[in-house]
């Protein structure tokens, strides 16, 4: 990153993702944060600042101001602590803020975390909380929730490109297969294509097993300057590029609904910053809140031409051993989707993969990895490229 200080991720931590009924928002935050700090090998007192991604703690657990909770319960007061919100992209945005803070030279040692505690309220309340990430006046008030919005994208994708229900289902099968190998995943079990296709219809053509679940969880990474990274005894993973883009919040205002322009722009920005092309990426964690989102993402990021994401998935090109392993962690689908934590958890996975510490889901010879984190139906997108 020209003109800026080099930035590394030197520590990662995450909780299990799932229905963690015996853990509170602060329990999860502290657990992930402490694990990341321990992993960095540096003393916590040297931390300069904290950034926390969280979408809707106010509705989910009636607690706002979690920036203070984070500093307080991690024993880090009076360090600067800031909450970042961008719907399901909150975590990715918090990471980007931390990276920029270190790159600017202002800080040397920063923690970026993400957390969401979603299962304390009833499912319909959770659905309403998530619907706040859509356009309230033009979408949510009319009764549209996220499965409905993504169903429209899926339907149009099927119409324009011949994407099939099999292909939408194959994304879930592949991600569950990977998630079964991830000890932190909410669903550590494979599913068959018949199970996916036979699951309840949520919003035609989206079925239950095409959707990511409602989850609790937290994740954290320690972001450091080059100097600090050398000081630490951990295995630094370098931030090669970062990108962020916005689009209209309402789906109907988009140029087209099968492409997320924010993904295209954020992906290109990160690649340009890293001086890489998409072919250089060894693995990618994409935002598969619904399986159609993964198909669109791998096209919009440039891994496959538009309209061929479904076929690529069906042909096994996105499997762990495929041309480009997509969501080796199990993705949002199988690993779980505590919305504010997702963007950070993606970075945790890429760091583990690049360190060669991803266990049974290890991608062979991985040296460059990418994350792709989306807010809402594509109104916000944030990407990162990390390398050894």
């Amino acid at each position: 990153m020209i003109g800026m200080q080099k930035v590394a991720i030197i520590g990662v931590g995450m909780t299990d993702f799932g229905e963690l009924w015996d853990k509170s928002l602060r329990d999860l935050t502290v657990q992930a944060g402490l694990e990341a700090i321990r992993d960095s090998g540096l003393p916590g007192e040297e931390i300069d600042a904290l950034y926390a991604g969280c979408m809707s703690s106010g509705i989910f657990v009636q607690q706002e101001h979690i920036s203070s909770i984070l500093a307080d319960y991690c024993g880090l007061t009076p360090k600067a602590s800031t909450r970042v919100e961008g719907a399901c992209a909150s975590g990715g945005l918090a990471l980007r803020q931390a990276i920029m803070a270190v790159a600017s030279g202002m800080y040397d040692f920063v923690v970026a975390g993400g957390v969401e505690k979603m299962t304390d309220i009833l499912t319909e309340q959770t659905t309403m909380a998530l619907a706040c990430a859509a356009d309230r006046e033009w979408e949510a008030f009319q009764g549209v929730t996220f499965p409905g919005l993504y169903a429209m994208m899926a339907r149009r994708h099927m119409h324009d490109f011949g994407t099939t229900e099999e292909q939408l289902s194959q994304v879930a099968v592949k991600n569950h297969k990977n998630g079964a190998k991830n000890p932190h995943a909410q669903y550590r079990r494979p599913v068959t294509i018949e199970q996916v296709k036979g699951s309840s219809l949520i919003a035609d053509p989206i079925r239950l097993l095409h959707c990511s679940p409602i989850s609790d969880g937290a994740a954290a990474v320690v972001v450091a300057s080059e100097e600090k990274a050398r000081e630490a005894e951990s295995d630094p993973i370098w931030v090669l590029g970062t990108g962020q883009a916005s689009d209209t919040i309402a789906l109907h205002d988009r140029r087209e609904i099968t492409t997320m322009d924010a993904t295209v722009a954020a992906g290109r920005e990160a690649l340009d910053m890293a001086g890489l092309t998409i072919g250089d990426i060894d693995l990618v964690e994409v935002h598969d809140c619904f399986t159609i989102a993964e198909i669109a993402a791998i096209e919009d990021l440039g891994f496959f031409p538009k309209g061929e994401g479904g076929k690529a998935t069906e042909d096994g090109l996105t499997e762990l051993e495929g041309q480009i392993p997509v969501n080796p962690s199990g993705g949002l689908k199988s690993k779980g989707h505590p919305v504010g934590a997702t963007g950070i958890a993606q970075a945790v996975e890429v760091v583990l993969q690049l360190r060669g510490k991803a266990g049974k889901r290890q991608v062979r010879d991985a040296s460059i990895g990418m994350t792709h984190n989306v807010g809402g139906s594509g109104g916000t997108c944030v990407t990162h490229i990390l390398g050894r």
Partner: protein
């Protein structure tokens, strides 16, 4: 057991759900619906009369009546006193109503055990009965049913039906299901009602009972677990190591739904339909909120001559008349224009 039944698939069709998926998912084919003139008290009285017929005692000898229910007709005014009057037990006796979601019936059995065991009373009458509520369109509507069972508890042995060898309970503050004062329908925590609520309490309490009695699943001829649907008790029994054959006779939820305070007690009654002297039964109730009562029961010789003195549970379950959703709405007074 009320004679009206509504099929799960008729409720599912009404709400635009997949009838086959619902029936398969919950394992409930149909549920018992109370008639418009039936309530927890009338069900309790009928069950109590049958219990008296089998016990062949005079109602005046009953020293205590406990009615466990979460649908007592009155918020203030006991069901137990009405039951006492209806069966001729009023006078020198005590009574109280219990509420502990679906386990208030077994709680009454335990209280009666204490009173007869201490010699304070000769006979205790413990009843679990409900006309459970499920909000229109709520998944609870498939299960919330009506029915009840009554047990006369004594410390002496004059040809008893069964002997309670041991009981143990577990109680925690687990908010999985609740109905606040003045609310017509209960609310629930969705999937939270499973793992940390039902399964934790049912499995742990059953294990405690087996530990304290030095038994293992293979020692029991029958096992009855609270049955909010068919899946939960089947899974709990499998976790504990019971076979399908052991739980089969007590599993009546498919045909009557979840009768709440009457639920596991009715499962026990169904076992009494066929049980032979010497057989051992494990009974574990569950009440949201949450707790479980577990019992080690041994069937006694008295069952043979007393069984036929009143209608069998299985006969009451098969005596039925189907109603459609509209009639169900009428009988359950779900159309309320006053509010």
């Amino acid at each position: 057991m009320p004679r009206y039944r509504i099929r799960s698939r008729d409720i599912a069709t009404m709400w635009g759900q997949d009838p086959v998926a619902v029936e398969k998912g919950l394992g409930i084919i149909e549920k018992a619906v109370p008639g418009i003139d039936e309530d927890t008290i009338t069900i309790s009285v009928e069950a109590a009369r049958d219990a008296l017929k089998r016990a062949r005692i005079s109602p005046e000898e009953i020293g205590a009546i406990y009615v466990g229910s979460e649908s007592h007709p009155y918020a203030v005014k006991p069901s137990g006193s009405v039951v006492a009057a209806a069966i001729g037990a009023v006078g020198r006796m005590t009574s109280a109503d219990y509420e502990f979601a679906c386990k208030a019936g077994t709680a009454g059995i335990q209280t009666s055990m204490g009173l007869v065991g201490s010699g304070l009373i000769k006979y205790g009458l413990a009843i679990g009965a409900d006309t459970a509520q499920g909000a229109p369109g709520d998944p609870l509507e498939y299960a919330a049913a009506a029915g009840g069972a009554a047990f006369l508890v004594a410390a002496d042995d004059k040809g008893n039906v069964a002997r309670i060898d041991h009981t143990v309970s577990m109680t925690t503050d687990t908010p999985d299901f609740w109905r606040r004062e003045g609310q017509s329908y209960p609310r629930h925590g969705g999937r939270f009602t499973g793992e940390p609520a039902y399964f934790k309490h049912v499995v742990e309490t059953s294990k405690m009972l087996m530990e304290e009695t030095g038994t293992s699943p293979s020692d029991f001829d029958h096992a009855v677990f609270h049955m909010p649907n068919r899946k939960f008790p089947e899974r709990a029994s499998k976790t504990l190591g019971f076979t399908r054959d052991q739980v089969k006779q007590g599993l009546v939820v498919q045909y009557i739904g979840n009768t709440y305070s009457g639920c596991s007690p009715l499962g026990l009654c169904s076992v009494f339909d066929v049980a032979t002297p010497g057989e051992r039964i494990l009974l574990t109730s569950y009440g949201s909120g949450a707790g479980s009562d577990s019992f080690h029961i041994t069937v006694q010789d008295g069952i043979e001559e007393r069984r036929e003195l009143a209608p069998l549970t299985g006969d009451m379950i098969s005596r039925k008349k189907y109603i459609n959703y509209a009639t169900y709405v009428k009988y359950r007074e779900k159309l309320n224009f006053a509010e």
